[in-house]
């Protein structure tokens, strides 16, 4: 079990390679169900996340390398992934890589109110630490990120958006 956990938790996200799947909260469960047989559950960050296949392949490779010859990767849709599952270590790794970590996710119960103004977030520039930042676009280089710019140091940066 320890061996399986160590191997699975070492796998990094294909699009955010500074983060492990465990830090991202995508790795939901690891279960050794028999001799050399492990079942892993992962939750997609977004419905169309194109990295799911790469994650599956990476998990299979690492677990086989750790001596498990039967590796099953299952998809867990419920509950839906939320940025609140990103661990403190994951948030620190994002910030260290120049990506602004997400704030608390909004409640997604009940009707979702319309927001016509840019989402108000307290985002600090991961480069210079300035709170003077502005949203460029709610959609970024991957489904999970928004684009920001710092009005102090003028550097653009990504922010992992709260869902």
């Amino acid at each position: 079990m320890q061996r399986a956990r160590r191997a699975a938790e070492s796998v990094t996200d294909p699009e955010l390679p500074m983060l492990t799947l465990a830090d991202l909260g995508v790795l939901r469960d690891i279960d050794v169900v028999g001799d050399g047989h492990v079942v892993v559950a992962i939750t997609p960050t977004y419905s169309g996340c194109p990295a799911m296949a790469a994650m599956r392949d990476d998990l299979v490779r690492e677990l086989r390398g750790a001596g498990f010859d039967r590796v099953e990767v299952r998809v867990s849709l419920d509950p839906a992934w939320t940025t609140d599952w990103i661990t403190p270590e994951g948030r620190a790794a994002l910030a260290a890589a120049g990506i602004s970590p997400p704030g608390p996710a909004p409640s997604s119960d009940g009707p979702i109110p319309l927001t016509l103004l840019p989402t108000a977030r307290q985002v600090r520039c991961p480069q210079c630490g300035s709170p003077a930042t502005e949203l460029v676009s709610e959609f970024g280089s991957t489904a999970c990120k928004a684009q920001y710019r710092c009005t102090s140091c003028l550097e653009p940066f990504d922010h992992v958006k709260e869902i």
């Binding site: 419905s47 799911m52 998809v75 849709l77 103004l117």
Partner: protein, 312 residues
């Protein structure tokens, strides 16, 4: 013969060719993640008709599939890089929803899945996407129209996502675990789509005379297809009665309430144009579509149809 177990070399990530040496040939026109519902409880709830559930999931899946393809046509064509990325992301989210919903439809009712030539590795959701004719698709007609200008994309995404978000908010309590999970996920995505298009709607309305003219023209052109979104097809009525689906008529008030907020902020009145009639009363949900859908499918499906056993 010795069994070969692939063990990664230390420098595997540095070698661009290493992935090609693994024997993992897969269906050429989809992803190779075998089953998007692997490990998900797909049991049809007691006393729910599996054919109704399948037909209902297919409708929601086709809406997402067709809308996703239309929005994806904006990739590399949007007015600026940020909006190119935004529209591509919206298309990707919808494609993900389509994949799960088509897979759910296939799992509930296998008879929906077109039969493919022997040896085709296409998974059921891809068979549904690539091997059905236009009249077999159940999407609302709003999704299939030929793209116009950026104002048209803004209005179309706004109408579509406002309606779909209101639907998914209710679908979260579906008795079908898969639909409930897809909806819970989709709500978060659709909220971003709706708010993105709503902000652009207001921006274009309050921008220049030209941007406002184009926005109002787009709204008037699309408005005739708005009422169709709230028509109740018999399948939707049955799915709603069984507690697995949402009656579109029941979300009209919520969706129009949101849309009215956007129109008010933009200072744009509701268009006064009549709804587009069906053909002999039949609309998108009945498989009645315009010619543009056939053309779109021809482009989307032709390669997969030419190579139904395609592996790479």
């Amino acid at each position: 013969m010795t069994e070969h177990i692939h063990t990664p070399a230390e420098d595997e990530h540095d070698n661009a060719y290493s992935g090609l040496l693994v024997n993992d040939a897969h269906w050429a026109f989809g992803t190779d993640f075998e089953d998007p519902l692997a490990g998900v409880d797909t049991t049809v709830p007691d006393d729910v008709d599996a054919a109704t559930l399948g037909a209902y999931a297919l409708m929601l899946g086709d809406d997402a599939l067709v809308m996703s393809h239309r929005i994806s046509e904006w990739t590399s064509n949007a007015p600026d890089l940020e909006d190119d990325i935004a529209l591509s992301n919206i298309a990707l989210d919808l494609l993900g929803q389509a994949r799960l919903l088509l897979a759910r439809a296939a799992r509930a009712d296998e008879s929906l899945v077109p039969s493919l030539p022997e040896g085709s590795p296409a998974p059921p959701e891809d068979a549904l996407a690539f091997f059905r004719e236009a009249h077999e698709l159940r999407n609302v007609r709003l999704a299939e129209l030929v793209n116009g200008d950026f104002a048209e994309a803004t209005v179309r995404v706004l109408l579509f996502s406002t309606w779909r978000l209101a639907t998914f908010e209710r679908l979260r309590s579906s008795r079908d675990h898969v639909l409930a999970a897809v909806a819970a996920k989709g709500v978060k995505e659709l909220a971003y789509h709706r708010d993105y298009s709503a902000r652009w709607f207001v921006t274009l309305a309050l921008g220049t005379d030209e941007s406002r003219r184009r926005l109002v023209a787009a709204l008037e052109a699309l408005w005739p297809l708005w009422p169709e979104l709230f028509d109740t097809h018999p399948v939707e009525a049955e799915a709603a009665a069984a507690g697995v689906g949402v009656d579109p008529a029941s979300v009209r008030e919520a969706a129009e309430g949101v849309l009215d907020q956007v129109l008010a902020a933009a200072g744009v009145p509701r268009p006064d144009v009549p709804r587009r009639a069906g053909v002999l009363g039949r609309t998108g949900r009945d498989g009645m579509h315009g010619e543009p859908l056939s053309r779109m499918l021809a482009e989307m499906q032709s390669v997969a149809r030419a190579h139904p056993r395609g592996l790479w």
